[in-house]
């Protein structure tokens, strides 16, 4: 082994170790910052007794935000999160209008006016064995 190659090896090895140390530090940093401090929002909501929502009712839950509709086909729910950029749409005369950029949806959640291009999310609703309405936050 010549002198030069040994020195090169030393240099390469050192730089590699320094790089590895840096990568480890970076990995540790990513690891440290990966912790989720706030809990994920609930995946389902218990809206109480189904009898509280008579047929033909349309009740807005701003905290979720969603609207529970009881029509001839039973319960259905729409997410009130505008599909454009996530503002909460306002319920106006059976239509839904977004205060941020003016998107409009009709009573069934279909786009009536842009800029939004996708309809409001339909959420799964079920009535459980106790008779409570359970709203699942997953899209049908």
């Amino acid at each position: 082994m010549t002198k030069t190659s040994r020195r090169d090896f030393l240099k390469l090895g050192t730089n590699f170790l320094l790089g590895l140390g840096g990568a480890f530090g970076l990995g540790g940093l990513v690891h440290f910052l990966s912790y989720e401090m706030d809990p994920a929002p609930p995946s389902q909501y218990d809206l109480g007794a189904a009898g509280d929502y008579p047929q033909g009712s349309r009740i807005v839950f701003l905290q979720i935000p969603a609207v529970l509709i009881h029509n001839d086909d039973g319960f259905m729910a729409l997410s009130l999160v505008c599909t454009h950029l996530g503002c909460t749409v306002e319920h106006k005369d059976g239509e839904y209008e977004c205060p941020c950029h003016g998107s409009k949806y009709d009573a069934a959640g279909r786009v009536a006016r842009g800029p939004s291009t996708t309809p409001l999310k339909k959420l799964r609703v079920e009535v459980n064995d106790v008779g409570n309405v359970i709203l699942h936050m997953e899209e049908i």
């Binding site: 990568a23 990966s34 912790y35």
Partner: protein, 598 residues
């Protein structure tokens, strides 16, 4: 030095090619390691994803009752807190709450008690109960420990504990010792699926453990840290060996192509070999700069999780310690570096005094250094208060009440510092702002100014009569500094692994827990002084007088310029003596304070 152009160019090209190869190699390595760590993190995260929502575990009804459900739970040879809790639950709680926390369901009643299933009718729990029995009203609901019902009212483990220890068991409340109540609480959390693996619940961490969400306890990252340290140590030896060899044929780039950058303004190009020795500088100034950098980085990281809110501060600190990956390590590093910085700054001060380096044109920089010492102490105090737990209650009270003792302006200063007439939410926010936006920011400015002045005043103090013929090169100096940083890093890492930063239970309402009431170690002498007299004189005047005395001393007795750069110059004897006397007094007071503490 005469340079032959062609071989040099050739060499440069070779060097450039090798550097390019090495860079690629490193890049791939870094990417690979980062990616693999990131993937591990994400896999872990997705596994322990909080489900949220209302998910009540409803036991499926079994047609026939399996008597094994009444058997005592098996616990390991060395039972953990939660195992002991399972035994207590089995012995005390199970009768009403069921073996799975389902409550006094018909299925449980009929299965477990058979002919005695209508326990409240007569006998043990009826109106005509025997002496050692008790009446159990039929109307009482025996809550299942599900989310929607009994546990729904609690947000964290501390609240469950508070309820259990006072209200349970139903027929004999307050009969559980705190220790046993913690054990039961741990077991309830485990049934709920919310107990972080391997976490021992106590009054310090319980507020940070949510009931309705599973959070993973931070895994013991010591393996990671040791590997990291090992790599650093190896790299350090590599650097040393490489530089020793490289020195034989150093090719210094010509001064024309190396433009000075800002770093070069603060960092000396060369220092005299005699003053470059560890035994002259003690490496204290450089170490202090390095520690400040570590404090800056770890402090920034802590800011990602810390909440400066009286209700949440201690809980967020506990979250960092128990649940954030590497959080305890980062916090311990911050704490350890802060302690070390006080010590190193004091060593640096002693070195400057005993080598006469405060003299001649350096008097102003000496003042800057003293200002930095005050910054460090204030940073330490404000940082300590940010824990906002039972441990800081008295330090905060006593420390701020000292301000009140100042005649005339004291009350005004107190209100300015505290943000009110007594410590409250504004106090914490103010201390947070002071710590980060005022003291750390201004401290950083003073560090740069201090370093700049060292160079401005002619570099490290050395006698002008001596020719600086044998100065060490910048590369050599850098090498020594890197070596110093590695040693400090490794010491800090070992400290961070073995010395945990203190944390106490969160301050809650009016309950005052018996907490440590001694000041931080560098203020013990002040605490001892305060025991012996008027707070204004002992707590304000004396410490300020000491600092002021240090500051003005150089203006009264200067050092002979030809005595610069060596230990114990003859012309600095008086100042050395004064410093020694004060140091001995402070040390004695500190020792007394330690000895007096039971």
């Amino acid at each position: 030095m005469t340079r032959k152009p062609s071989p040099n160019k050739d060499k440069e090209r070779r060097l450039a090619a090798r550097n390019a190869r090495m860079f690629l190699f490193l890049l791939v390595g870094v990417l690979f390691v980062t990616l693999s760590i990131f993937l591990t993190v994400n896999v872990e995260a997705s596994q322990s994803l909080p489900t949220g929502g209302t998910q009540t575990v409803v036991p499926s009804p079994t047609p026939t009752f399996d008597p094994i459900r009444l058997a005592s739970p098996s616990v390991p040879q060395v039972p953990a807190q939660v195992d002991k809790g399972s035994l207590i639950f089995w012995g005390v709680c199970i009768a009403c709450h069921g073996d799975r926390g389902q409550g006094l369901t018909n299925e449980w009643r009929l299965g477990a008690y058979k002919e005695d299933s209508n326990c409240w009718d007569s006998g043990c729990h009826g109106k005509n109960h025997p002496q050692h029995g008790f009446e159990m009203p039929k109307t009482l609901t025996f809550p299942p420990l599900g989310t929607a019902s009994a546990l729904g009212q609690f947000e964290n483990a501390q609240q469950i504990y508070d309820y259990v220890v006072v209200m349970m068991p139903w027929w004999k409340p307050r009969s559980l010792t705190p220790e046993r109540a913690w054990q039961v609480t741990a077991y309830i959390l485990k049934m709920k699926g919310s107990l972080p693996e391997g976490l021992e619940l106590n009054e310090t961490n319980a507020s940070a453990v949510p009931v309705h969400r599973h959070i993973a306890a931070a895994k013991n990252p010591n393996t990671f840290i040791f590997i990291f340290t090992g790599i650093l140590a190896l790299a350090m030896f590599g650097l040393l060996a490489r530089d020793l060899r490289a020195r034989e044929e150093t090719v210094l780039p010509s001064p024309q192509i190396r433009r000075p950058n800002f770093f070069a303004h603060l960092h000396p190009p060369t220092i005299p070999a005699a003053q470059a020795r560890w035994r002259y500088t003690l490496g204290a100034g450089g170490t202090a700069v390095f520690l400040s950098l570590i404090l800056l980085v770890t402090g920034l990281l802590e800011m990602f999780y810390y909440l400066p809110d009286p209700e949440k501060a201690a809980i967020s600190v506990e979250t960092i310690v128990s649940f954030v990956p590497l959080g305890a390590f980062i916090r311990n590093l911050h704490y350890g570096s802060a302690q070390a910085l006080v010590a190193v700054a004091l060593i640096h001060l002693a070195r400057v005094i005993f080598t006469g380096a405060y003299g001649a044109q350096r008097k102003f920089n000496f003042l800057l250094g003293l200002a930095l010492l005050i910054f460090i102490l204030l940073l330490d105090f404000t940082g300590y208060v940010l824990r906002w737990d039972e441990g800081i209650r008295w330090a905060l009270t006593a420390g701020t009440n000292l301000l009140k003792s100042i005649p005339l302006v004291g009350n005004g200063i107190y209100i300015f510092v505290i943000g009110g007439r007594e410590p409250g939410p504004a106090t914490l926010l103010r201390f947070y702002s002071w710590h980060i936006y005022v003291l750390a920011l201004a401290g950083g400015f003073f560090i740069v100014w201090h370093l700049f002045r060292v160079r401005r005043d002619g570099g490290i103090a050395s006698a002008p009569t001596r020719e600086n013929t044998n100065g060490i090169s910048r590369a050599d100096l850098l090498k020594r500094e890197v070596l110093g940083m590695f040693i400090v890093s490794i010491v800090l890492i070992i400290m961070a692994v073995f010395i945990p930063a203190p944390i106490a239970p969160p301050i809650r309402g009016d309950t005052i827990l018996a907490a440590d009431s001694s000041a931080p170690w560098f203020f013990l002498w002040v605490q001892q002084l305060l025991k012996s007299g008027d707070p204004f004189w002992m707590g304000v005047v004396v410490p300020l007088a000491v600092i002021t005395l240090f500051g003005v001393m150089p203006y009264f007795k200067d050092v002979e310029p030809n005595e610069f750069g060596s230990w114990f110059p003859r012309s600095g004897r008086i100042i050395q003596l004064v410093f020694t006397i004060i140091a001995v007094i402070i040390l004695t007071l500190t020792l007394l304070s330690i000895l007096n503490t039971p």
